[in-house]
Symmetry: C2
Subunit: 323 residues, 2 copies
């Protein structure tokens, strides 16, 4: 049924031709929770393109994440890589172009055909960003990018969950005492593969670095396997060579140790589950709205049937039994 | 199947006999998302008891909500009413007795057979408190209480959602400038039926009252229908006669205007829907864990099948088609 939509049918061909508008349309469908996205995703064949390397960049507002992302994009482009960038702002009521207006530094990349930049806000009806972002990553993937950078604002649970879906996770912090890093309960310390103390030309950068290392050392597993390095940077100068060097090191480590394969396996399973659950919720909500249930709904409203009994009847597929 | 559990079978009889341990057990099942709760809820016949009047009490930490609830319990008890009290603390890792230890003032009511006090924390696997609380209210309902008081800590979206499931909503605020009330985006101003400025013997109570009224007047519908009164109180003295008087007035208004009937109709429909969705999610998660899907899961993990295609196969009930 859904596959019969001409829009959906064209999409695969268009994306294979690197049609940016087709990718933009698919991302809009994903963001809006449009069922056309599900049909389109089935059209994107797996294995056509090598898997992009996904980097999550997160940190509190004001840490300079956008500046860092911009510098990473420039540096990776100079190495000849192509990339997709997803900027996530859960609190923004805007999407796409509206938000990019603020990202003055990103403007230089907007006309580069090897860079695709997309902002995502929380517009989906169900589930929200934590599930839309991995789908957007996979959609960008089908475009054959070498890298995909996902920038999230904040260090709360949602942002940590989004960042966890990356191959390498960079946590950006501004100079300071480091008290808030240690007090954070969202697990940001545990998920970071690499810390960047940005604005390192300001007072407090070394203090912050020391505080992060001290906090990391409280983990009994510190220095077993990969220990997240803490890199000082001044992203606004554009010189992020040390960050890239650490990122490359983490990538090699993850690849050699088998950790990368494991992360990607877990990620695919999680995507499958969340895909199933999202579609089941969509279907159930639409079934619950059906006019066929008007009578049952009235009985529930009027206390003639308990909510629990009406739920049972619905689940048993025999709502008629009760009225 | 579930009905065959002897525990579930006994529950209805025990609750009809006002067995407090049976009610406590049902609340524990609800809190833990135990499927036995669903079976038990079907046993609790509707209409056996007159509907309790449900009061939601919410407000930021430090506003003195517990003191107010305690004073309301004492005053309503003196009028001869029985009541259930649910104290919700989403952030607390504890439940039941553990949290009650902190509620020193509540201790006087613990041995009163006409008062049943229960703390709830966020222990459920799925959905969490916003759906467990209405179920707990309904379970307490079956005990035949005159009133049910639901205390939530905080003025965020979850707390507002929980409070919305009440017949009357009291928002408790401490003295102050009122800036935070006006800045609140969670809709607390819109849902409040009654404001209590507690600790009114401290500086700033009149300022807060004025700020709340000014904020309320920015709503173009102010003074159409019910206008939430702002009552000054010193709950620690136990004198909450003014609060009770305003509460009684709101109850009469809601009852006479038909608003109470409408709220309860909406609440029952919402409970039905959330009951269906919770059980469908439980079932789906358990289906996704099934060993029957081991092979499909391996294919997804190994990139042989895309998450979207595997989701499609699962939803079509033919996961075998893909492997």
């Amino acid at each position: 049924l859904l596959n019969s939509s001409p829009d959906v049918g064209q999409l695969r061909t268009q994306i294979a031709k690197r049609d940016r508008q087709a990718l933009a349309r698919l991302l809009t469908w994903i963001e809006a929770g449009d069922p056309q996205a599900d049909a389109a995703e089935l059209q994107l064949e797996e294995g056509c393109t090598p898997e992009a390397y996904v980097v999550g960049i997160t940190g509190a507002p004001g840490a300079g994440k956008s500046t860092l992302v911009n510098a990473l994009v420039s540096t990776l482009r100079n190495r000849g890589s192509s990339m997709g960038v997803i900027a996530v702002d859960p609190s923004s009521p805007y999407t796409g172009g509206a938000m990019l207006g603020d990202r003055v530094r990103m403007v230089e990349h907007l006309t580069d055909e090897h860079v695709f930049i997309r902002s995502m806000a929380n517009r989906g009806q169900l589930g929200g960003l934590a599930e839309a972002v991995p789908r957007a990553v996979r959609a960008m993937q089908s475009f054959g990018f070498d890298w995909i950078l996902v920038e999230t604002v904040g260090v709360g649970q949602v942002e940590v969950d989004i960042a966890k879906a990356a191959d390498s996770i960079i946590v950006v912090v501004p100079p300071g005492s480091g008290d808030d890093i240690q007090a954070s309960k969202s697990g940001i310390l545990e998920v970071a593969d690499l810390f960047v103390v940005n604005k390192a030309d300001c007072v407090g950068a070394e203090d912050m670095k020391r505080a992060i290392i001290a906090a990391l050392k409280m983990n009994p597993n510190y220095e077993i396997g990969w220990s997240a390095p803490v890199v000082l940077a001044v992203a606004s100068t554009g010189d992020v060579a040390d960050v890239i060097e650490s990122l490359d090191r983490h990538r090699s480590h993850a690849s050699d140790s088998g950790e990368l394969v494991q992360r990607r396996r877990r990620r695919r399973i999680a995507e499958w589950r969340s895909d199933v659950i999202r579609q089941i919720l969509q279907r159930t909500n639409s079934d619950l709205d059906s006019p066929d249930l008007d009578s049952l709904r009235d009985q529930v409203a009027a206390s003639a049937v308990s909510p629990a009994a009406a739920a049972r009847a619905f689940l048993d597929g025999e709502p008629g039994r009760l009225y």
